[in-house]
C-alpha cells in the first residue's frame, strides 16, 4: 500500500540539510508501524512527504500504485482526504467548539449537515468525547485535546493515519491511553504510522519499528528485541 523507494529530502537554506537520506521501506494495508528516532532524525519530514506537504528530492513514494511525488497540485486535496494526520501540538482552533473542530474535515468535502452530524458524533464516540462536543479546546486536558485531533483525522474515515509525536506533550498515563486508541483504530483496518522518540511506547506494543537517525534508516522494519535493544539506551534515556 505504501512504499518508500530510496527517498531523500534535502533542504537548501544557508547550508544544505539532508533531512532524509535514501530511505526505503514498505507497508501493507492495515499495518501499524512505529518510526523511532531522536529529534532531527527525519521522522517529521518522512510524515510530511506522506501527506504531500513536502516533495521528495530523490526517490519515489508510492501509495496504492501512485507516485505522490509526481502528483499534480489539484490532486493533493484528494490524497489528504485519504490520509489522516495527528500532530504533537494538536493544531486545534481554539475559537471553535470540539464539534466544529472535528466537522472541519467533512466541511471541506461538502458533506451535508446530517451526514456531518452523524459522522462527527461517531468519531467523538470512538475517542470517548461525545460529552465534550460543545466545549472549547482550551477547556480540555492535553489528552482530550489530542483525542479531538484524532477524531478530526478519523471522521473522514482515512485509509492511512499518520501521527507525528502524538504523545509528546502528554504524561505517561495519557500517552498510553492515546496509544490504546491508535491500537483500536488499527484493529478497525486503518493503516497507521506513528512517529515517536519514546522507546517506552514502542516497547508496549507488538508492532514493527523503523529506526531513523540523521535522516537514514538504520534499522527495521523489525520487532526483533535484539535489533531494537541498542536503541533503548539511545532514546529511552531521553525521556
Amino acid at each position: 500500500m505504501i512504499s518508500f523507494h530510496h527517498v531523500s529530502k534535502t533542504f537548501y537554506h544557508d547550508s544544505t540539510i539532508e533531512a532524509l537520506d535514501d530511505v526505503s521501506f514498505s507497508m501493507n494495508k492495515g499495518d501499524f508501524y512505529f518510526i523511532l528516532g531522536p529529534s532531527g532524525a527525519g521522522k517529521t519530514t518522512l510524515m510530511r512527504i506522506l501527506y504531500r506537504d513536502l516533495k521528495p528530492t530523490r526517490g519515489q513514494v508510492i501509495i496504492d500504485g501512485k507516485n505522490i511525488g509526481k502528483m499534480k497540485e489539484k490532486e493533493i486535496p484528494n490524497l489528504r482526504r485519504r490520509v489522516g494526520v495527528v500532530f504533537q501540538d494538536f493544531k486545534l482552533l481554539n475559537d471553535r467548539s470540539v464539534f466544529e473542530n472535528v466537522a472541519i474535515s467533512l466541511l471541506v468535502q461538502g458533506e451535508d449537515k446530517y451526514e456531518i452530524n452523524r459522522r462527527v458524533m461517531r468519531a467523538l464516540d470512538q475517542v470517548e468525547l461525545t460529552d465534550k462536543r460543545d466545549m472549547n479546546p482550551r477547556q480540555l486536558s492535553g489528552g482530550e485535546a489530542q483525542r479531538v485531533s484524532m477524531a478530526r483525522a478519523l471522521v473522514k474515515e482515512p485509509e492511512i493515519l499518520v501521527a507525528d509525536e502524538p504523545t509528546g506533550n502528554l504524561d505517561p498515563d495519557l500517552a498510553d491511553n492515546i496509544m490504546d486508541q491508535f491500537d483500536a483504530i488499527n484493529r478497525r483496518g486503518t493503516t497507521l504510522l506513528v512517529a515517536t522518540h519514546d522507546y517506552r511506547t514502542v516497547q508496549r506494543y507488538d508492532f514493527p519499528c523503523i529506526v531513523l537517525k540523521d535522516g537514514r534508516l538504520i534499522e527495521g522494519p523489525t520487532r526483533d528485541p535484539d535489533h531494537l535493544r541498542p536503541f533503548v539506551g539511545v532514546y529511552g534515556e531521553e525521556d
Binding site: K74, L93, E100, V108, K113
Partner: protein, 293 residues
Amino acid sequence: MSTWRYLLRFAVRNLTVNRLMNVVAVGTTALALFIVAGVVLVHQNVARTLEGLLEQTPVILYLEDEADREEVSDLQSRLLARDDVTDVEYRSKEEAWEAFRRSLRLEGDLLEGLEGNPLPASLHVNLDPAALEHVENIAAEFQEWSGVESVDYGREIIEHLRGFSNVIQVALGGTGVIISIVAIFIIFNTIRLSVISCSTEIDILKLVGATRWFIGFPFVVSGIAYGFFGSILGQGLLWILYWLVQSRVAEVGFMQLQLFFLSPLWIFLIICLGSLLGVIGSATAVRRAIGRM
C-alpha cells in the same frame, strides 16, 4: 453546520478582524468609484445637454442674395422630402432684420446709418431627433447645395461643450484608473493580512483536504464586500454632491440646466465594477498568500 454556512462565517470573520484596514479598503474603493461614477455622470449630463441644445437649435441655411423665389422653393421641397427633416421655415431678409432689431432691443435710429439690409434670407430646418447625432454631416451636405451661402447649427456651442466634456472625462478618467489601481492594491494588502491572521485555520484546512478554491472563497467574498460597500458609499457621496450642485446651480446663463443622476443600469454597473476590483485584489492576494498546497 453546512459547508456554505461555514464559508460565509469565515468571510464575515475576515471582515471583523483588521478593522482599520477594512475601513481603508472600503474608503479607497469608494473614492475610486466616486470618481469613476463622476466621469459617467458628467458624460451623461453633457450628452443630454447637447441633445437638448440641438433639439432647440434649428439648422439654419443662409441663402445667397441672388437666390430667387423659385430656387428657395426648390430648396424647401428638397428639405421636406428628406426623412431626417421634420419642419422647414422660410425667413426673409426683412424678417431677419426685424428679428435682429428685436434681439438687440434697438430703436430704429441707431441702425439708420446702415445702408440697406445686410442680413440674408434663411431656411430654419428642424431635424428629426434621431438625426441630431449626425448634424455635422447633414450641415456639410446642405452647404454643398446651390443657393446656400452658409449653414449654422450651433457648432461653437457643441464644440465647446464636447471639448469641456472631453477634458473633464480624460482628467477624471485618468484619476479614476489610478485610484482604482490603488484600491486593488489596498484590497490586496488587506486580504493578505487576513490570510496571515488565519494561517492556523488555513494550515488545518490544507491538511484535511481543502481545495485551493475552498480556502480562497471566503477571502474573495471579503474582497467583493469591500468593492460592493465601496461602490455604494462612492455613489452615495456622488449623489450628495449631485444634489448640492443641482439645488444651487439651477440656471446657467440663458438656458435651463437640467441635471440627471446615474440611471439604475449605471448604478448597477458601477457596483459590478467595485465588486470586480474586489475580486481582482482578493484573488491575487489569496493566490500569493496561500502559496502552494
